[in-house]
Symmetry: C2
Subunit: 760 residues, 2 copies
Amino acid sequence: MVTQLFWIIPVASIVALVFAWYFFKSMMKSSEGTDKMKEIAQYVRDGAMAYLSRQYKVVGIVFAVLFVILAILAYMGVQNPFVPIAFLTGGFFSGLCGFLGMKTATFASARTAQGASKSLNKGLKVAFRSGAVMGLVVVGFGLLDISLWYLLLTKVVYTAEHMASGFSALGLTFVHAGMDESEKLIEITATMLTFGMGASTQALFARVGGGIYTKAADVGADLVGKVEAGIPEDDPRNPATIADNVGDNVGDVAGMGADLYESYCGSILATAALGAALSVSSGEDMSAKVIAPMLVAAIGILLSILGIFMVRTKEDANAKGLLNSLLIGTGGSSVFILIAIAIMAALNWITWGIFGAVVAGLIAGVIIGQGTEYYTSDGYKPTQGIAKQAQQGPATTIIDGIAVGMYSTWIPVVTIVGGIIAAFGFAGGFNSFGEGVYGIGFAAVGMLSTLGITLATDAFGPIADNAGGNAEMSNLPKEVRERTDALDMLGNTTAATGKGFAIGSAALTAMALMAAYIEEIKIWLKRGLAEGETVLQNSMQFVLDSSTQVGEGVKAVVISEATLKDFTVFYDLSIFNPLLLGGLFIGAMMAFVFCAMTMKAVGRAAGSMVDEVRRQFRDIPGILEGTGKPDFARCVAISTKGAQQEMMLPSLLAIAVPIIVGLVFGVAGVIGLLMGGLTTGFTLAVFLNNSGGAWDNAKKYIEKGNYGGKGSEAHHAGVVGDTVGDPFKDTSGPSLNILIKLMTMVSVVMSGLTVAYALF
Amino acid sequence: MVTQLFWIIPVASIVALVFAWYFFKSMMKSSEGTDKMKEIAQYVRDGAMAYLSRQYKVVGIVFAVLFVILAILAYMGVQNPFVPIAFLTGGFFSGLCGFLGMKTATFASARTAQGASKSLNKGLKVAFRSGAVMGLVVVGFGLLDISLWYLLLTKVVYTAEHMASGFSALGLTFVHAGMDESEKLIEITATMLTFGMGASTQALFARVGGGIYTKAADVGADLVGKVEAGIPEDDPRNPATIADNVGDNVGDVAGMGADLYESYCGSILATAALGAALSVSSGEDMSAKVIAPMLVAAIGILLSILGIFMVRTKEDANAKGLLNSLLIGTGGSSVFILIAIAIMAALNWITWGIFGAVVAGLIAGVIIGQGTEYYTSDGYKPTQGIAKQAQQGPATTIIDGIAVGMYSTWIPVVTIVGGIIAAFGFAGGFNSFGEGVYGIGFAAVGMLSTLGITLATDAFGPIADNAGGNAEMSNLPKEVRERTDALDMLGNTTAATGKGFAIGSAALTAMALMAAYIEEIKIWLKRGLAEGETVLQNSMQFVLDSSTQVGEGVKAVVISEATLKDFTVFYDLSIFNPLLLGGLFIGAMMAFVFCAMTMKAVGRAAGSMVDEVRRQFRDIPGILEGTGKPDFARCVAISTKGAQQEMMLPSLLAIAVPIIVGLVFGVAGVIGLLMGGLTTGFTLAVFLNNSGGAWDNAKKYIEKGNYGGKGSEAHHAGVVGDTVGDPFKDTSGPSLNILIKLMTMVSVVMSGLTVAYALF
């Protein structure tokens, strides 16, 4: 039954793209306002595009190098020959989403300001629907890429016998002739899975580069403009202002979009791969379990679009009213999806266990979002406590903010643990391990099924922020700025919960990918063993799949003495295997070292920006009086250059370490690395995000007039906290999502290499 | 052969205690200086003892409660009846070491200042040999406790048949009659292992309470005295000065001593337990492998004493000369131990593999110490870089310091991973898992074999620091203060490397304890299965010991279908077991939450101190002119009370969480918890220690006249960094050592409960 519904998947993805196009067009029709507003918007647009084209150039080189490496590996026979191409398409679509989302955002900011000059509702609508373009483009292209590859591989490649001989003629290993249907299905999902590495790599550069860019500009603009020269935020006299506004777009729109594109595709593909492995062992209608996660995602898209149309507010709405209107959209989509999935279960398209797993994922997403809200919003004690500590100076502000961030880790960790165990258990994992991890995959798919609208609420934030900047620089009336401020505050709230959502979904996606990694390893082992040694194959099946049935009522595993040593040391996934344990330690360390690198990078890039802004204030006559014109472009160029230079080292580390660990410590070491990176990276990311968010809002709480208000000692300390928090919450913390997923993706793609050449 | 050498062990421990007594007596003979010096020293002594007696009262209550709980568990049959008593002796000896070490330190400070007024060498000698009292008391009582219990259990309890019936008459389960020799040996080592929980609990309160005390006093003294009132450090007009000096003693002497007492005993006992399990399966001279780690420790003691006598310096020595004289002592001891162990291997008392493992541990300790030195000393780039960033204000100082600390984790992590794998491999772990973990235990024993002298160099620091405070408050001539400053700086260096040593040894000890935990679980499972169900026993043997030999050339494991479910879910130690994975996440979170709690605790306790110091400055007439007398005792009381109140919650958490996780998630969950706590806690502790150390030294580097020197903007920012670093390096970071070890110890002691009542 499910197999016959495959058409829904490409259709849903095209529907998403059509609506994205529609929202884009309707946004473009609205007025961009005065000439001054257009000019400012053009500056930001030029800056953003300059950044993006430069980033794509660097990324292009990296992709070219990786393509060649993957092609060589394919030629060596430790890689499926389609992988290099899949890798490119993953990167291409991810980049395209970033480009389109950012283009839209930069067109929308002045229009949002103009809309807000009419009414709050009009401003909200322009900003939110422009954000929805990003959301729909991501889910649309993501699912389109998946369905195209699935069709290509199932309908063309693996059915045409001549393809195999063609590859053989090229000298490429392509185990095709003689494959049975189940083996083909596993090959197909495994190949598709690896296009996630392209998306991952693109996301890495977008997140890390964007994160460095935005904070270098922000810190540079603040330190010299606000602190030294004493001019307000977004003041047109500050040469770094445009770069700061560009930064919101490249960091929070393009970076966040690429991050979630990767999670979205990764979770669906990993679940499909797990479904393939499961179908083969159980011998059911094989492709049903492969298609099911795509189908859930497709239905999620359609219902997200419905949710987007539900977002509207009254003219006299206050902050709470605005938030409510967004919650109606996201909450409504979630409820619709729950109902739809329940219907699917009732129709027997999926099991009720899978329904339970999807629910677990959806609920986990909500709890993590609310927990983030509690620890970072100034409506609650933790953030207010930081503001209170600010009265005693910057040191106590920092200590308290760090303590709040560290404390806040408990909610997301307990939620993710509960979500994982619930999804595993609902899906029947305590009886069959394979069903359980398939359930965990579905929890990720479930959490991300509302991505179309969730990402819209995320991308909304920087658009509103830019609209405020535009209003300020264009000297629009005070009431307009007040309206954009209301939208901006709403954006800050959605950004905080969005970060919780991003890290939560990254964790579940990484879990599913790791389980899929084991399936990949199995494939390569079987391939290596096709020439003999069935005993070792048995032993592997034992390690990797303990449910192998051997006799009536008895499970038996027979391992020859000669192979036992290899077996124990190479593929023992027990936590006491010292190679796995070593990986675990290195994974924990990687999270810290990666953060250290990105923080240092922000520091250096911000330093160049500080120097440049100081230079302009000194050298350009009349700049502070408003008669001289600041050189915005130069600041944009400095941030761009800084971001490009600084993102290389951490990025290469994230790609190289899993390969090195795989070659030295083998499969067990890789699993340890990924688990260590996941558990420590997740906790560390929550800590950094929430400390940063709490400091930001503690400062704003003081600015509202508490503990002396603006200009007081407490405010001064609060600004220090906020500045420390900037790289925490906008560079290092979010970059950890990518580190976790990319290391897993690289491991998946390099599994053939690991099996063939690992030292241990 | 080795068995007949057992006498060396108690003899070595008594020799250590005799030398401790000798060093104490010879220190007491030297003059305590002027009446003023004696008065100041008396204040510090009174404060320290007041704190200690109060702490022991609180700890006494906790011990009484835990004793009752353990006794109930013993009565329920899920605990060996000797465990409650062993628990008390462990706590008692640990407390005694803290008491004696601190008593010595508080007697030594004025004498060190007096010695320094004669010559640098005399000052060094008094301080160092007083530190050696602490070192020798810890190793002496540690090994004495171990050998007494071993003799009692082997010679009396497990040989006298009537003991068993006596216990049975009391209604206690005591599986004794009919035990064969190997089972007795395992019971003996397992029982002894649990006295480590007493030491752990004592250490927890000493470290956490001491850490909170010392930083509350320090921050309070600095914030009001140095920053607000503008009077120098250690000024007698500051009412918190005495509390600050007391804090050095309770935190750095008693806290560090209890921490390492626990590691010392834990590593020896865990290795002995692993040796027992190994001997039984291999059927050799059974007690040889149990005694071997104690023997290595005993020889280490004797050679450490030799090293202590090698520490002396020339009269005109500079800072480098002083450091060299200490290095000759510690390095000399290490070399002697290496030679001695090589001779043991040559005599076939231990294998060459074990020799390799000991070498790995010793070298790992040295590398971690040197790595710490690089990242925290102002002679190298990282710390100098922080000082440079301080020019741009406190925010960049904090960001850079955090980045340096996070970056610095790579050396200790890579070293520990290398050490674990090397020790495992040398000892033959790639052929036999049991031999491998026995080797890891020996790496811990090897690292700690020089503890007698290493701890002396640690305890030396606070003594020199207090001597400086005494000299300042007693208005001794400038040259005396210069000499004590030279000693103090040396103490800062040894403190930093000492912290690295403490966390490194904690990691290896925890590893060995975890392996021993598995042995404990085996014992309880076997006991539960004595009544039947051999099939399940087989399955367990498979999970827990994959080397079970079943047939010629073939290893087979047979599990009945009925028990498979239990088997997979309950005792699957694969990292993909969701219960284990859940534990892993919770362990990572525990490290962060525990840090958050201890940081918040320092903040609150420091807040009370700030209020009190401000009150005294306001209410006591003439206090700032030097005519009024500050109320030192009240500040001491406030710090004491704050520390006692604040240490309860994190301490209870550390004890309760492993029990709860065990009861809910079972054995796999506990293993995950411990591994997650170990890997994340280790990395986090290194980050916190090194960030704190680097900030401290960056501030001092600025004070030397760099970047504007004292009073400059950079200095102001440096002080903020130093204040943030205080709870990092002296409270939260070091407390993580205890968290890691205590959670493991609690799990070991509660293993019977977990096996009997776990939900999953």
